[in-house]
């Protein structure tokens, strides 16, 4: 993972501090969950290299992220939704899959073309999802067109991917890269792998016919100003899609989740989720790249989610959704609002020592 460098000591100090804080923050949460129920399941639509598809999205409860148990990422509250005590048995995981299929049968006319499985961790980590379960799931969904499974880059392995492609599934591994900038990933997000590890995972996935990587980016982790966040995303989108094997980037604005350091900062007036204009700006600026760039702003228009002035949030969100579908930057010419000037002033003026300049 990280290369030894003169900054290693500093790096350790920063990580220790972030982890200590995040452990304390997460410990305020005493919720626990039924291991036989998925954390969440829903139906939606996605842009993929095969055009627009219907998706069944599953957040599988696998006992949560190991990294989060150590403290983990500063903006991530997902672990708060995992079971007590660690790992979930094969039977329980399969019970969760059954519950998802029931959900789909009740709510959709046809089976979804694409299955997306997130785990708040690594689906490909066998301590989290045993090989037996992974294979069973591959078979269960073998009748679909595509599958997306979430994993840290370490666990991306061509043999595991082949288990899915052999079922005839186009297989994307979703990697929560967050940013292509190692410094930001490490010090702002507190996530510990390097862009080089992501590149290695891309190489591994693309070694399999039908395997690929989908990069998840996080716009505006804590401590970055709006302008820095926009620049970081523009750079990151381009760097990701330059890597062979990465065909899609999902760039998602940070929101304020419960039991996170971001939430503490937010409460004290030290964090504001990104402007929707910032999302639009990055999508528009990088529209010329070779690959798909989408964004799914969660909680848009609310104080804890990405937002503009309140008047234009829905319009800009719709333009972003349009862009997701058509990849055409002219969708953003259709929306304007007086608050663009405010956003421009914020992007130009905000510094890490003066943020946020506007709510």
């Amino acid at each position: 993972m990280s290369q030894p460098s003169p900054e290693v000591y500093e790096e350790g100090k920063g990580m220790d501090a972030h982890n200590k804080v995040m452990r304390e923050v997460r410990s305020r949460n005493d919720a626990s969950y039924d291991p036989r129920e998925p954390t969440r399941v829903w139906l939606d639509e996605d842009n993929t290299p095969d055009w627009f598809v219907t998706s069944l999205t599953i957040i599988l409860n696998t006992g949560g992220c190991r990294w989060a148990r150590a403290g983990g990422c500063t903006m991530c509250g997902y672990v708060a939704e995992s079971v007590d005590g660690g790992s979930v048995a094969h039977e329980d995981l399969m019970a969760q899959i059954d519950a998802c299929l029931d959900h789909e049968a009740e709510n959709a006319d046809d089976p979804a073309q694409q299955i997306k499985i997130y785990t708040s961790g690594s689906f490909l980590d066998e301590r989290e999802v045993p090989a037996e379960t992974r294979q069973a799931i591959a078979e269960t969904f073998g009748d679909r067109d595509r599958i997306v499974v979430e994993s840290l880059p370490d666990f991306v392995d061509r043999e595991k991917i082949r288990e899915f492609t052999e079922q005839g599934l186009q297989t994307d591994v979703a990697i929560g890269l967050e940013t292509a900038t190692d410094r930001v990933r490490r010090d702002c997000v507190n996530k510990y792998f390097d862009f080089a590890d992501f590149e290695a995972a891309c190489a591994e996935a693309s070694a399999v016919d039908g395997g690929a990587i989908k990069a998840y980016l996080l716009m505006k982790p804590p401590f970055l100003s709006e302008g820095e966040a926009v620049e970081d995303m523009k750079r990151s989108v381009r760097r990701c899609l330059d890597v062979e094997g990465c065909h899609t980037v999902s760039m998602n604005p940070c929101n304020v989740q419960n039991y996170t350091m971001v939430e503490d900062l937010y409460h004290d007036g030290g964090y504001r989720p990104p402007w929707l204009w910032s999302v639009a700006e990055v999508l528009e600026d990088t529209a010329d790249v070779d690959g798909i760039v989408v964004s799914d702003p969660v909680g848009h228009g609310s104080d804890r989610g990405p937002h503009n002035c309140g008047d234009c949030d829905d319009r800009v969100q719709r333009a972003i959704k349009d862009f997701d579908e058509r990849q055409d930057p002219s969708v953003f010419d259709q929306v304007s609002c007086e608050c663009e000037r405010t956003w421009e002033a914020v992007v130009e003026r905000e510094r890490s020592y003066s943020l946020p300049l506007a709510r």
Binding site: K13, V21, G270, R341, R349, Y353, A358
Partner: protein, 608 residues
């Protein structure tokens, strides 16, 4: 070492200072990025110019934060203030994270600023400090006051404090009052783009204004054509104008009087200056012991001012009454000194030096006759309506009670009008004594004055000598500490006459003189020597090996008593000189500053 910042005037925690760049900037100042100077034609008026172009000093250089990119070694020059790259900490950043990511600042030889937070602030050897996380402080009086005090005490006194991203026309006076030296226009501009029209008395929605209540250039156009960009320009102009008012007020020593009125427009600002009043030590250290400016006592908050509290504290814990005669309590007069007023002339005619006169007043408390000329007893102006608020009654009664506990009078005669009665009665009750009341209807009626005269008919007069001796000693008590009057002036002869009394010792050597505008004592060398040898608390400054003339600069000072305040008499001792003068900075500033005038020397004696 601070090379590029020097404080010239102090008014409480507010300072008038100079950022010594190629073109010097007088602070408190509105600053902005160096690249937001003027637009191409240089006038700062073009359509693409930043709203603060031509208004704010374009002196900041910010190579960027350390969160996003590995900072390069900073570069700078004498034309700008370079903010050294660092990871800024937004409000709410946990302490552990701040510790782990605390920047290390290189030593640089150009004007520089270090980014600090309320928790991590410490001396980095830079000329200025940028306080991060201000957004979480503005609007929250307690957090703001705590942060300001913490940071100001942690960084050297002769460095500038820059509070980024929060200044508005309404809050800037209070920010400066609390100790901020540099602000930017970011918030004013952002609010302008949101259609908020900012003024010193708050803000309005632009769409609600049918008339622009301002005469700045941006507002000189038809209302319909005035857009949000113009609003941003107006906001910046209003902020710049507010800062000009603040600078003028500091020069005049009258910022507090302004704050008491202006801060009322926003709750948190009022709460801020009140909370600062509760942080008495912070303000007391920074408030001069004398000044020319008058105190306007127009609000109840005046009672909490340092000058007022300090006078009351000194009168009730340092001052000694040396007269044996009865006490006559009289109301103050609008005219200062009281003795010059018609009413006090009439009281005097009735009393005829047969009693000790003490004036009762809001907001000062009680003023013994010897201290009538001493700052601030003749330097305030209050609004007299004959109606006392509960706070005023409580304050004056409290001071009078403490005063009486420390003094010993055979009798107390209260020659006061009806509205003073509740105060007197409170004190009578709590001390279990009885005052004699002599006023019928009004203190200056013939009957009242006759009552007063006849109450004193059996008393002996005290002479001029006693009066003058007691005055000099009382001022010494007040100025130098409990017992100082006796310790310094045991054998005393007085020359000159009120108000310029000169104190000589028995051999005719002059020791001190009462300085006219302030009613305080200034020592001669002989007086200073006696002060050093006496038991009275001395304010000493240790200087390097040189003979000071005119003024002493901070770098020449080795150490200084913590208790020294601006305006204090100070003795200077060094290998080559013994001198006496008046402090221009506080003791802690003298000890920690590397620039600026520390004191003015009055007399110096070379040692060999």
């Amino acid at each position: 070492m601070t090379d590029y910042f020097e404080v010239h005037e102090r008014d409480g925690a507010a300072r008038l200072a100079e950022l010594r760049l190629d073109s010097p900037v007088t602070t408190p100042a509105l600053v902005t990025d160096a690249d937001r100077a003027d637009d191409a034609d240089g006038a700062g008026q073009g359509p693409d110019a930043a709203p603060e172009a031509g208004v704010a000093h374009p002196v900041l250089s910010d190579p960027g934060s350390g969160w996003a990119t590995e900072p390069d070694a900073p570069e700078g020059d004498d034309s700008r203030l370079t903010i050294l790259p660092a990871r800024g900490f937004p409000a709410g950043t946990p302490d552990e994270v701040q510790d782990a990511f605390e920047p290390e600042y290189p030593d640089v030889d150009f004007p520089s600023a270090a980014v600090v937070s309320a928790t991590t602030a410490t001396d980095h050897g830079t000329d200025a400090y940028v306080l991060s996380g201000a957004h979480g402080l503005a609007g929250h009086a307690r957090a703001f006051v705590d942060a300001m005090i913490g940071v100001r005490e942690a960084i050297p006194p002769d460095t500038a404090l820059y509070l980024p991203g929060v200044a508005t026309p309404a809050n800037v006076a209070t920010l400066v009052y609390a100790g901020v030296d540099l602000v930017d226009a970011d918030r004013a501009v952002v609010r302008g783009t949101q259609g908020r029209y900012l003024t010193v008395d708050g803000h309005q929605f632009l769409e609600d204004l049918d008339e622009l209540p301002c005469a700045c250039p941006a507002c000189q156009q038809p209302r319909e054509e005035f857009d949000r960009e113009d609003c941003a320009r107006h906001n910046v102009n209003a902020l710049a104008a507010a800062l000009k008012t603040v600078r003028r007020r500091i020069r005049d020593g009258r910022l507090r009087d302004y704050i008491e009125g202006q801060a009322r427009h926003e709750q948190w600002l009022t709460a801020t200056f009140r909370r600062l009043d509760q942080q008495y030590a912070y303000l007391e250290e920074r408030t001069p012991i004398l000044r020319q400016a008058e105190i306007t006592a127009a609000t109840e908050d005046t009672i909490r001012r340092v000058e007022i509290q300090r006078f009351a504290e000194r009168v009730t814990s340092r001052y000694r009454n040396r007269f044996d005669n009865p006490l006559v309590l009289v109301p103050c007069s609008a005219r200062k000194p009281y003795t010059d007023s018609q009413s006090h002339g009439q009281y005097h005619d009735a009393v005829q030096w047969r009693a000790h006169k003490v004036s009762m007043t809001s907001p000062i408390g009680v003023v013994p006759q010897e201290l009538e000329l001493t700052y601030p007893a003749q330097h305030y102006d209050s609004v007299v309506t004959g109606r006392w608020s509960a706070n005023e009654i409580e304050f004056v009664a409290n001071v009078l009670e403490r005063y009486l506990e420390r003094t010993d009078y055979p009798r107390v005669i209260a020659h006061v009008p009806e509205d003073y009665r509740p105060i007197c009665e409170r004190v009578e009750e709590s001390l279990g004594t009885e005052f004699t009341y002599t006023v019928e209807d009004h203190p200056t009626t013939t009957d009242s004055l006759g009552n007063l005269a006849s109450e004193l008919s059996g008393e002996l007069k005290y002479g001029k000598r006693e009066r003058q001796h007691n005055t000099v000693r009382a001022i010494a008590d007040y100025q130098f500490g409990d017992g100082a009057g006796d310790a310094l002036f045991d054998d005393l002869t007085i020359r000159g006459s009120q108000p310029g009394l000169q104190a000589h010792d028995g051999d005719g050597n002059q020791l001190a003189v009462v300085v006219r505008p302030y009613g305080t004592l200034a020592f001669t060398l002989a007086g200073a020597r006696r002060w050093v040898e006496s038991d009275a608390p001395t304010k000493r400054v240790e200087i390097d090996d040189f003979v000071p003339h005119g003024s002493v600069l901070a770098p020449g000072i080795v150490d200084a008593d913590e208790s020294i305040r601006v305006g204090d008499e100070v003795v200077f001792e060094g290998p080559s000189a013994f001198a006496v003068g008046r402090a221009e900075m506080t003791g802690p500033e003298m000890a920690r500053s590397s620039r600026g005038i520390a004191a003015h020397i009055r007399h110096v004696d070379e040692r060999d």
